[in-house]
Amino acid sequence: MKPGYYFWSGDIAAAEGAIFAGCRFYAGYPITPSSEIAERMALRLPQVGGKFIEMEDEIGSIAAIIGASWTGEKVMTATSGPGISLMNENIGLAAMTEVPIVIVNAMRGAPSTGLPTLVGQGDLMQAKWGSHGSYEIISLYPDSVQETFDLMVDAFNYAEKYRVPVLFLIDGMLAHMYEKIYVPPEDAVERIERKRPTKPPGEQLIYEPDEDLIPPMPRIGEGYKIHASGLTHNEKGYPELTPQAQERLIRRLNDKIRKHAEEIWKVEEYRTDNADVIVVAMGSNARAVRTAVDEARKEGIKAGLLRPITIWPFPYKYIEKYAVDYIVAEINYGQIYHKVKEYASGNVELLPKMGGELHTPQEILHALRRYKK
């Protein structure tokens, strides 16, 4: 895209942001409210020499992007709740075999088919815990069309750098909302590529990590004779079905993210200085909170907003930083609330909403008034 101003929905911004970040391979299966991402990719990818394929289902879609990622491409798929549920087994495969992939989840009212066209935030825990086993992924969640575009570059950079699936959350509101957005010049951002092997084929062990705990990643067809398996494996990539190999591998897969958590954290702190009460809110739900915080301040309530943009790994130090009472406003019946409770020193109140609509500024303000000192 030429640099300049555009009027885009969150879905279009997600697709364009991905292309801007270097994504050249997309496989997907349509589902509201993410379908426009697939439509945009179908239109745009072949224009830039990329590939788009509509698969038979979400399981096939994620399998295809994992395969394609091994050829060296930056890859993406997009879906919503029911599709994410289907993808979870292969999210585990990508985590276990350390394949960079980006998955967009446009969250809608859930569980099950729920509210296909309306907003929800019920997949926050699933993003982290959806597949079986103990593993780490990275999850990001913007609150505007502009941030969706910009954050896509980070999503691909993280996926490539840490060789990990990145779950890029948006929500039904953001997906379909149109806003003015600025596309910067091509060279205005840094794009990270996965580490390449430094040793020639034969000498490079496929899963031998460097000091940063991340192994370099060869491409298919370069002679490295890659073997990747979802079975517990050793540095050669060969299955090794022992508690010792499991301990080594699973610990490293988790630590490679945990040890870099602070580099991955992105958080917006809005009027949190000297606050007595801070609302934790994410995605499009944070927009009403910002308005409510401004109103509350006018009424003499020292309120603030803490908006995790990085949802996983959870930016807990930001919670620990403030000795305040927290209100967690989320469009589910209590998910990130539990994380905040784990790290807060003061009171933590849950302000839930089951889905279909966001909090209104009045609802937030009403809650904040209880904290007037």
């Binding site: 224009q47 038979e56 292969n90 298919i220 004779k225 073997h227």
Partner: protein, 284 residues
């Protein structure tokens, strides 16, 4: 006469086959007398004869006894999730059409849990060779019945005989327009190897079904305790009929096995070729 120090053709071939195996991973997990090794051997020999660069060849497997094949080939190889070998391979092939992509997996993996992918990948005519080892059962999990278990067969989940009806795999593949469709048994060593060799030179979604013995969990429940008895069955009951009708291709319990090359047509554009046109149009 073979003089001392000079290697026989057999020895040379053996060395070549070994170079395509991850020798450091042996011994393999397969039972003595299992047909999967025979099939893998046929594939590797065909690859050698076809002079295809192993560095440009990718083997993708799902989960199962057959799925372990990817772990033994000394090429880029992927042991994926149960049923997902085909879409994984589709991603590789579509991203890099110059690679030679082979799916090597079991009947349950490809036709039960992965059936939807098989059907749709065949329909789209992706340029992939599928070697489907049909041992009539889920070997890895202990011999339950699957989508290819003949009606009447005894398995751990059909203790009174199988009420279910098996897939007619060649029929299925042909109905989807797959350009190369063949069936052999592990008894048909040379025919199988020749067929893989031919298929390696063809384009599009190529399917080779290999009827294979699983003496350990299937044969012994179905009057064929030893690998030899199963091979005897394959020898005695198979007939070659390239122009077999769909009914003739149907497999019955311990009945006749019609083998052959049922379809071999050329010139059907692959998905990858058709997408090249899309790129041209998009960039106009």
């Amino acid at each position: 006469m073979i003089s001392a120090g000079k290697k026989s053709t057999m020895e040379l071939l053996r060395e070549e086959v070994e170079s395509l195996l991850r020798i450091d991973r042996l011994p393999h997990v397969w039972c003595p007398g299992c047909g999967i090794g025979i099939t893998l051997n046929a594939f590797l020999r065909a690859l050698i004869r076809a002079k295809i660069d192993p560095n440009k060849t990718v083997v993708v497997s799902g989960i199962g006894c057959t799925g372990r094949a990817a772990g033994y080939v000394n090429m880029d190889s992927f042991h994926t999730t149960h049923g997902r070998a085909i879409p994984f391979a589709v991603g590789i092939k579509f991203a890099r059409p110059e690679l030679n992509v082979v799916v090597f997996s079991g009947d349950g993996d490809l036709f039960a849990i992965g059936g939807n992918h098989f059907v749709n990948a065949a329909r789209r005519n992706h340029d992939i060779l599928v070697i489907a080892v049909n041992n009539f059962t889920y070997g890895m999990t202990g011999g339950q019945h699957g989508p290819t278990t003949p009606t009447g067969a005894y398995t751990t989940t059909t203790p009174y005989g199988n009420p279910d009806r098996p897939f007619n795999i060649p029929h299925l593949a042909i109905s989807l327009g797959a350009p190369y469709v063949a069936r052999w048994t592990t008894y048909h060593l040379m025919q199988l190897q020749n067929s893989i060799y031919t298929a390696l030179h063809r384009k599009g979604f190529r399917v080779i079904e290999v009827i294979s013995q699983c003496p350990t969990v299937y044969g012994r429940r179905n009057e064929m305790k030893s690998p030899l008895e199963m091979m005897e069955y394959f020898r005695k009951f198979s007939v070659r009929k390239d122009d077999a009708t769909f009914d003739e291709m149907e497999l019955t319990y311990n009945g006749r096995i019609v083998v052959g090359v049922f379809r071999d047509v050329q010139g059907i554009p692959t998905y990858e070729e058709r997408y090249n046109d899309i790129i041209r149009r998009a960039q106009k």
